[in-house]
Point group: C2
Chain length 602, copies 2
């Protein structure tokens, strides 16, 4: 199984660990230390040895920062985690702070004593972040100081070793473009820089057509790379991870170098007065400092793999279609089982989540879940980033809604899908809210828009029917999704922050929702791929549109048909007919019978 | 009359003027010079003595830049002006370049000779722009050099003098808030800076409750100001402009200083090591250089008056409602006259434009037009920023559409309205397009959205019905509008670039369109004010919405009712009923009879 359900936090451990860290800081003559959630690569998932924030504070969320001073400490979390942090950490040691309302920079300005040395590990923070912390420390009359070895690692006596999962070639039939061609494209795009520094493992995985297993749920090979303007590339990686097959695969396109050679490579770039492209939003401060000290010229810019990686080629799109067909059958088997079993009682969030994983494993192709399944019954469904544990587990009860947001990693594609189903009958209010969310979902699914349109322009289409009723939801409408890679990738997004134009081949989620705290949550999520739209008679401009990739029924028991327009009903019926036809081959008779009813014409 | 219709450009003059400038550059040992459209204040309108780009090149558009080198020269214009520039300048001297596709920085990189000195007048460029030009010049191996006196002014023998229009107090009944209170608010918002440098005359006009007359169509008092964190303010202005009444009005809130004192004031800030807030997007490079040389610390940030100015208070909103009522009657008298006269022939774009100005003048309250009226018949309506001259003037012919975009400056408010009317019958295609534009207009007018929503999120509501037909328009959907001030103001806008959240009190245009080159143009524009929306039963969040300010009929002859939803028809009928009821008092019988029919229920 790829998911566990244990409660791992133990607030009672926090005080002693904070004391050990403070003693170590004192020993080194430091007055404070920054402990981010991030590792050297700034990804959403980090390996166990980099779970420093969690070890120190108990907090297990996917984003956060702790600051330890000699006499006070704080932990900064966003709105998703305000409740969770209080159950996981010792709030007498780490005072919870809202990352946006009381940002770390302001806290530093207000609490860092004059003359104090606030230390940080330059491998774990981005260039942009350090610039902000530095200004804040100086405003307080203190200084921000980089340290060579992490004082927390020094006191974390049972810190796990760094990961060493083997690197796997990502076959051309899935990748669709040889690494050599990708390197040509990327090196030609450097716009005057002599080399690009790659620090994001998903960029490296994409560029060299490799995958790894260093973190959970995402097949990342943790490593660094340089792509030179002449097309030559260097991969800096723990050599234990590269077996003969991977070595043969990589041999023709990239120089393999030990991880520790990176420092020397940066020094060489500096000695030759090269201009190096670094992404200040993701590149570790250490790398920037090393380059500058060595004499290199820094060109700030976006990771040059980000956009080409986001625009999937035909092989990747075909792959994701196959992955969604497979995943849709597994999810439909689960939904059929749930529909037949849950109303009789005895199902809880964990049994449901395990059952869904089992159906996915049954496909024989499951490499991992793409994230921990969100399995939320009743009030737990209203917690947007809920993760069920033994301690929070709830039964699925008649009259409640059950929200399940889940996804899988297959060699041919990454899935991410949310369905909300009524256990028994849905109330009139629940049907009203569900149908408004569905109207928004259809608004995005059927959107046609010209090239150059950004996700922020489309966001309101998903929210209008809720806004008209004085309702809304507090998350984006869509995030980018990788191809057997990160389930959250940029730059594409549908949200008020989505300023990047959508381009053909981008995969993006369509997931409006509605959450009633203490009662229920609703989300309907399909993945989409941006496609050129068919030209309409009389149309003057090429338009783009979306093809829905996800194939699974939307619970008709929650739909109030009278709220839908004729076009919306037409979309729903056509989608359900497509789901039924696509999934039928390979489904058992019992599931098929359920599916026929679940996708009936309304 | 506030508008002229002459063709002023004479391409035959360009060669000789360019030669005079080049001779002057040579005399000073310079190899090139940048000539922007802007004056020292970066506004949309500039006084005659600052029309340097127009004098040199003949080009009269509202944005552009020329670069003169010893052996070549170029003029950079945006998509609005690609045709116009070719009719106005001598393209053998100034090669037209598209501002976006071949930006000046790239042209400099490619054409500036190694070792060349490219000069600029630091009063006429923003800090941001100079940073870009400097990098480009250095990339070409040359240098960018500021000059103390403008070489173009030296050869422009009949350059008009700077304007000296008197400053007028803007009465409290219109402004709604004493200048002393505004200064308190602004000085309290400086967030650590010791002073804010104001260079935008509309910010100064707002802050001190004054208006001026230094440029056309916008009542700006050209001047500079400093607002200090302690609440003290200094206004640097040509003292001839400040009569006894204005002096008395300003006396209590601001120190009046001669314009030439600004340099000393900046030097004093530097000597005291003060931190000064400057807006790099609008502040003249000269000011930044002077502050830095003097030792001041620069804090880059948005003009602190921009946002408070954009959020109109109750008196300003009441004023704009009164202005729109007055303006709506004038426009309706014009539309009635047009409807009765134009089908019989004999009307052309200029007579129509003059007639509309006359109806506005008839109100007795007209201070100026808020911009040159766009009066476009048939194909001229498809030119988005068309300005009619004797040379382009066309008759209004049956079977054509006539687009008229106009506005007025009244003491109580600024208007901006576009109507498109059929001369005789509209074709089926014209009705289809008009109705799609109307659906977009209604989509914006009826939008409800939560606080924090930005204009970019709403933009698609205006375009969806066009997108569905493969159509679009190449301009934003809405721009901010001032209160007896600029007809274009920020930060509010409805467009893909509108990232600032909309706030109650912001006035913004709602103007979707459709343009068929060589055939016709359609635009339907009303001004809106952002208001708190009435709470809906069951609604959970406070929502915002729009109140439509503009009052004038929308041509029902162009509406294809079968394309409208029941809700859209309801909106149109309710709007027309409101227009009819509001305008009726004070309209003559003939206009009233026409209005009744024009606003009939459909």
């Amino acid at each position: 199984m790829f998911q566990t359900y244990d409660d791992t936090a133990n607030p009672a451990l926090v005080a002693e660990r904070a004391k050990r860290l403070r003693d170590e800081l004192k020993r080194r003559g430091l007055d404070g230390f920054l402990i981010p959630r991030a590792d050297e690569h700034q990804g959403e998932y980090v390996p166990p040895h980099a779970e420093r924030l969690r070890w120190l504070t108990g907090f297990s969320g996917s984003a956060g920062l702790a600051i330890v001073l000699t006499d006070k400490a704080a932990i900064f979390i966003d709105g998703r985690y305000t409740l969770q942090v209080r159950s996981q950490t010792d709030v007498n040691i780490f005072e919870p702070q809202h990352l946006i309302e009381q940002p770390p920079v302001r806290w530093i300005e207000e609490h860092l004593p004059k003359g104090a040395k606030l230390a940080y590990d330059p491998w774990l923070h981005t260039i942009d972040a350090i610039a902000r912390y530095k200004a804040a420390a100086e405003k307080a009359g203190g200084t921000l100081v980089p340290i060579d070895t992490n004082p927390l690692d020094a006191v974390w006596t049972d810190q796990p070793p760094p990961p060493d999962a083997p690197v796997q070639p990502h076959e051309l039939k899935y990748a669709g473009e040889p690494a050599s061609e990708k390197l040509k494209r990327v090196s030609a795009s450097l716009d005057g820089a002599d080399a690009a520094m790659l620090t994001m493992p998903d960029s490296i995985a994409w560029a060299f057509n490799i995958r790894g297993g260093d973190v959970g749920h995402t097949p990342l090979p943790l490593s660094f790379a340089l792509i030179h303007a002449d097309g030559h590339a260097e991969l800096f990686i723990d050599e234990r991870k590269v077996g003969p097959e991977a070595r043969a695969h990589l041999g023709n396109v990239v120089s393999l170098r030990p991880k520790d050679d990176l420092a020397k490579a940066l020094d060489d770039l500096g000695a030759d007065k090269k201009t190096v492209l670094v992404d200040p939003a993701t590149c570790a401060s250490w790398i920037n400092d090393r380059l500058q000290t060595a004499g290199a010229k820094i060109k700030r810019g976006t990771d040059p793999c980000e956009l080409p990686k986001a625009c999937k080629n035909a092989a990747e799109i075909d792959g994701t279609r196959a992955a969604h067909l497979r995943d849709g059958r597994a999810l439909t088997r689960f939904l059929a089982w749930l529909g037949q079993t849950a109303p009789r009682g005895g199902i809880d969030e964990i049994t449901a989540s395990k059952k869904l994983e089992a159906f996915r494993a049954d496909t024989g192709a499951l490499k991992d879940l793409s994230f921990d399944t969100i399995s939320g019954a009743g009030p737990n469904g209203a917690i947007v980033h809920y993760r069920v544990t033994q301690g929070t587990n709830q039964p699925l009860q008649p009259g409640e809604l059950f929200l399940v947001d889940s996804g899988a990693q297959y060699l041919d594609g990454t899935t991410d899908v949310t369905r909300t189903v009524a256990i028994g009958r849905a109330s009139a209010e629940q049907r009203d809210r569900f149908t408004r969310v569905l109207k928004g979902h259809i608004g995005i699914a059927t959107a046609r828009f010209p090239e150059g349109t950004s996700g922020s322009q489309l966001d309101a289409l998903a929210r209008m029917s809720l806004w008209k009723a004085g309702l809304d939801y507090d998350h984006g409408t869509g995030h980018g999704v990788g191809s057997y890679l990160s389930v959250h990738e940029g730059p594409q997004r549908i949200s008020k922050l989505g300023s990047v134009p959508l381009r053909p081949g981008m995969i993006i989620s369509n997931e409006p929702g509605y959450y009633k705290t203490g009662a229920y949550g609703i989300r309907i999520e399909n993945l989409l791929v941006v496609t050129p739209a068919t030209m309409i008679e009389g149309g003057e401009r090429p338009m783009l549109g979306f093809e829905t990739l996800t194939l699974a029924p939307i619970d008709l028991n929650c739909v109030e048909a009278s709220l839908l327009t004729a076009e919306e009903i037409e979309w729903l019926n056509a989608y359900h007919a497509r789901v039924r036809e696509a999934l039928t081959p390979g489904l058992d008779a019992e599931t098929l019978a359920w599916l026929k009813d679940a996708t009936r014409t309304i």
